[in-house]
């Protein structure tokens, strides 16, 4: 079996295996084994990818396989991967792996929990390997829908409301997206060839600009909802606040990236003229969302809300980089996807672990945790520092690449947008340090906190894995950046080429 399909098969098999598990111990062992296998497979993929590239394979997508599915509609199960996809898959593998450890002590309906969680991951993996829009969309929805159960059953707080809101908003996004994809399909052969959903094929044709103007916003917004595009981000605070730990991790860490990845890979890549023409409008939205999310986070009281708003801000930065439409900025945006994925997963994991001990997420009810749980607190500080873009951790690399790239756009509009977006790094520092100050530092407010214990071994596995990820990218960014940049060349040539006439018309 080819290496890419394995990414869907392994979790599926894991799900089947879990069905026969008898209790929590077996369930989590199976999950851990399955997801470790997945992680190993991801490493294998990276190696295989480099081997192939070093061997001189310069195809845009490697490991391509195409199996015809619906013949008359020319729907295929088409898979293939480039550097960006490799990075995203590695990210997903890491996060689902740690997610399993973060939910090690799931008492209530453990089988169902792990099954839903892994189905979700299956969807994500499937999405990243797909080259066919239909299959891609299918996996996309597979990834979204288990969220309802995961939040509804195992969540906390107003979980039913949050779960419903999250699901409906995301599915609303995907509904709009569906129209966009169908539109892409019917315009995929303007010269009368065979209609297709295949990304590579569609990229070759020149879609009429009128059609692009109609379908680009649909597709972009459709994906954008999942990528927390202002003003469609409000599912995020409630959803994250109610979701159980592993779900928040996976959702903020990976699923939200699905949105921005799709916006890039589908909306912008396949409809480059419209992307060039309309980027200004979305750029205003995302610039707002970067600053807005950061300000929104400043006064929140609930740890998860803070992180959710911070995710809005950071994911806004991803879209911001993408909409800058040049290689460097998009490179940065994709690094930011990875970086924010790991970082926010770490955040949510830690919040979950802290919550599991103190049974509150309100920062004012806690204090001085550094004293009683130094490991978790130190990890939290590291995550915070990564979030505010400390060099040596991943956030810095991503943000700087985005800003440097954004500054290559030589006009006042983009400059102003960049400066506004860049100012978020200060606000980020404000809310991160505020939390650290109240939550971890200061005197211990509650006597019973003295009895709390530090992280257990499985929690340490999760946390350390993620920290290694953050620090690894932060210290040796060249490999990741290079991996992505290589794959960006053909895409960017495509987009920039399309933008040339358009840009000369709208230059400010």
């Amino acid at each position: 079996m080819d290496i890419l399909t394995l990414f869907v098969v392994i979790p599926t098999l894991t799900v089947f295996a879990i069905m026969f598990a008898k209790n929590l111990e077996q369930t989590r062992m199976i999950s851990a084994v399955g997801m470790t296998a997945q992680l190993i497979n991801a490493v294998r993929l990276i190696i295989a990818y480099y081997d192939e590239r070093n061997a001189g394979n310069t195809a845009d997508f490697l490991f391509q396989k195409t199996y015809v599915w619906f013949d008359s509609l020319n729907i295929e199960y088409a898979i293939g991967i480039d550097g960006i996809g490799v990075a995203m898959i590695a990210l997903t593998a890491v996060i689902i792996f740690t997610g399993v450890f973060a939910s090690w002590t799931m008492e209530d309906l453990p089988k169902e929990f792990f099954i839903s969680l892994i189905i979700l991951a299956t969807g994500v993996f499937g999405f990243f390997i797909s080259l066919d829009l239909f299959t891609m969309f299918l996996f996309y929805e597979v990834a979204v829908i288990p969220m309802y159960l995961l939040i509804g059953i195992w969540g906390s707080g107003p979980k039913e409301y949050s779960a419903m809101k999250l699901t409906l908003m995301l599915m609303g996004g995907s509904a709009v997206l569906m129209v966009g994809l169908i539109g892409l399909y019917f315009y995929s052969a303007p010269d009368g060839g065979e209609l297709t959903f295949n990304v590579i094929e569609i990229a070759k044709v020149h879609m009429p600009i009128e059609a692009q103007r109609f379908f680009f916003p649909l597709t972009f917004v459709g994906f954008g909802v999942l990528g927390a595009l202002f003003p469609f981000h409000t599912w995020s605070p409630d959803g994250h606040a109610s979701a159980p730990t592993a779900v928040s991790m996976l959702h903020a860490g990976v699923l939200m990236k699905l949105g921005s990845y799709g916006a890039f890979r589908v909306a912008m890549y396949l409809m480059p003229e419209a992307a060039n023409e309309m980027s200004w409008f979305f750029l205003i939205l995302v610039t707002v969302s970067v600053v807005y999310g950061a300000f929104g986070a400043v006064m929140q009281k609930d740890l998860k809300y803070i992180n959710a708003y911070s995710s809005v801000s950071h994911c806004g930065l991803i879209l911001f980089g993408l909409l800058m439409l040049n290689k460097t900025a998009i490179d940065g945006a994709i690094i930011q996807m990875i970086s924010h994925g790991i970082m926010t997963a770490l955040f949510f994991a830690l919040i979950g672990m802290i919550y599991g001990r103190t049974h509150t997420r309100l920062i004012h009810e806690m204090g001085g945790l550094l004293k009683v749980m130094p490991f978790l607190s130190a990890a939290y500080v590291i995550a915070g520092l990564a979030s505010l873009g400390l060099p040596g951790l991943s956030g810095f690399v991503a943000e700087m690449t985005i800003f440097v790239g954004a500054f290559q756009q030589n006009d006042l509009f983009h400059r102003v947008a960049t400066v506004i977006a860049a100012s978020s790094i200060v606000i980020t520092a404000v809310y991160i340090l505020r939390v650290v100050g109240i939550l971890l530092q200061g005197p211990i407010k509650n006597d019973k906190y003295f009895k709390l214990s530090d992280a257990t071994w499985f929690e340490r596995v999760a946390v350390i894995t993620l920290i290694v990820g953050i620090a690894g990218i932060g210290m040796f960014p060249y490999f990741l950046s290079d991996l992505i940049m290589d794959s960006l060349h053909p895409i960017m040539d495509h987009i920039i080429e399309a933008g040339k006439p358009a840009l000369s018309q709208v230059s400010l």
Binding site: S72, L73, E141, E160, T167, L168, V179, I182, G183
Partner: protein, 473 residues
């Protein structure tokens, strides 16, 4: 007329035979043996289904009144499978002592209506169409009133028979004008003589109104919810699935074959009614508490989606409608199957009775969830494929705005489907429905439905097979 020609009606013939067998069993069995009617009926019908399955040539008989081709065969088989599933589900219900004296009627009536549908689907002229339609409708009213001891059942019966009589009256009035203006009742002759005069337009609208009644398109849908609620669960599922699928199919065939030149007219009608139907169906469904009534309104919205496949008037649409009908049958039967199983054992039919169902009856809940997801169009279950292709069919003819409105409506529908999921999985309940062991018949039916729900989408050959025989305007 040679024997081969008669055999073209094989589907209807075997159904008639099955019906006769049931009738004979009813007559000859007595006392304790009476209960044998049930397996005999189901067995006979199963055999009939299998026989009808074999491929057969296309042909025209009765001077064009009856015609058959592969696509119609497919449709009939789809209906047969659905009915078979209903029959299997019906076994525990009919075995209950209070149904003791009227077991065979259920099978007789359903088989009779199925024969009517067969003729309707195969009709080549409006007379055959009308006869089939009435054969398929009138007995169902008796079925709706099947629970003779219940007020609701009687009310459902009277509502169904009277409103369906009114609708067929109006439909007939339209047919009479079609006859008056074209001088024929044969489909191909009518199509040839069609001139799009105002009177003919009027006739088409009357005809369509009658069909919309069957399809329960807003505003012709009001009977649906009341009848569905009052009728026994299995009758409801029969009504919501089988009659609707058959009506949708023949409606599409007649539009494509007889009135293709009036496409401007019916396209606009369908455009408006699709939006109204989906939206109102959803809005009405949201507030429902009774599961049957809830599914009734959801089926109204689903009918709106079927119109999406018809409106484009293309071959893809026809494939999508048949394909969707197949998926819809499996999904809805699974949902109704669960409702029926629970209703049989506990008599509970309300949504809040389902609170905490997963913790006591996980398998039933899972089946229900899959069915609802399929109805809502969530992958990887088949409903997703059905809906996606319907949307594609509409989009193919350029109705992107309509598709957009429809997909946004799917969010509303997802909301109320999730309400049920929420009740089963999330809500807490002090006194949930206790665990019970479903009997083997229910299980077989549900497993078959679930297999259908999963397989029909993923296995592309089904779509390809239907697609090979469909046609556009």
């Amino acid at each position: 007329m040679s024997f081969e020609q008669v055999l073209l009606m094989r589907n209807e013939l075997v159904l008639v035979i099955a019906m006769l067998i049931v009738l004979a069993a009813e007559i000859f069995l007595s006392g304790n043996n009476r209960k044998l009617v049930i397996p005999i009926a189901v067995g006979a019908f199963a055999i009939a289904t299998i026989i009808a399955w074999f491929p057969q040539p296309e042909g025209v008989i009765f001077g064009g009144m009856y015609q058959t081709d592969t696509l119609r065969q497919i449709m009939k088989n789809v209906l047969n499978i659905g009915v078979l599933l209903i029959f299997i589900q019906s076994m525990p219900w009919l075995r209950k002592p209070e149904q003791n004296f009227q077991m065979s009627e259920f099978y007789l009536i359903i088989i009779a209506t199925l024969i009517g549908m067969g003729f309707m689907i195969s009709s080549g002229d409006f007379l055959m169409f009308y006869l089939g339609l009435e054969t398929a409708t009138i007995p169902v009213a008796a079925l709706a009133a099947y629970d003779k001891g219940k007020r609701k059942s009687a009310e459902a019966g009277i509502k169904l028979i009277l409103s369906s009589a009114l609708s067929s009256g109006i439909l007939l009035y339209g047919l009479s004008m079609i006859y008056g203006t074209t001088g024929s009742i044969y489909f191909h002759e009518v199509a040839n003589a069609w001139g799009n005069t105002p009177l003919q337009m009027l006739a088409v609208v009357f005809f369509m109104s009658g069909m919309f009644f069957k399809l329960s398109i807003v505003p012709f849908h009001f009977w649906t919810a009341d009848v569905y609620e009052g009728a026994p669960v299995l009758v409801t599922s029969y009504l919501s699935v089988i009659s609707k699928a058959a009506a949708a199919f023949i409606f599409m065939i007649i539009l494509f074959k007889v009135f293709p030149t009036s496409i401007e007219l019916w396209k606009n009608v369908l455009y408006a009614l699709t939006i109204i139907t989906i939206t109102l169906g959803n809005i009405f469904a949201i507030r429902q508490k009774n599961m049957k009534r809830f599914l009734a309104f959801s089926s109204i919205a689903q009918a709106g989606f079927i119109l999406l496949g018809i409106i484009g008037g293309n071959a893809m649409g026809m494939t999508a409608v048949v394909y969707f009908a197949l998926i819809y049958i499996f999904s809805n039967l699974a949902a109704f199957g669960v409702v029926a199983a629970i209703s049989n054992v506990t008599g509970k039919e309300y949504m809040n009775d389902y609170d905490g169902l997963y913790r006591t009856n996980p398998k039933l809940s899972l089946v229900m969830m899959l069915a609802l997801f399929s109805l809502a169009g969530i992958p990887p279950v088949a409903g997703f494929f059905g809906k996606f292709f319907l949307f594609m069919a509409a989009a193919k003819s350029g109705y992107y705005i309509l598709v957009l409105i429809a997909v946004i409506n799917t969010i509303v529908s997802l909301y109320y489907y999730l309400l049920v999921v929420k009740a089963m999985f999330v809500n807490k309940n002090e006194h949930p429905i206790a665990w019970f062991k479903s009997d083997w018949a229910t299980r077989i039916a549900l497993i078959a439905s679930v297999l259908g729900i999963i397989a029909v989408g993923l296995i592309s050959h089904i779509w390809e097979y239907i697609n090979a025989f469909s046609f556009g305007i």
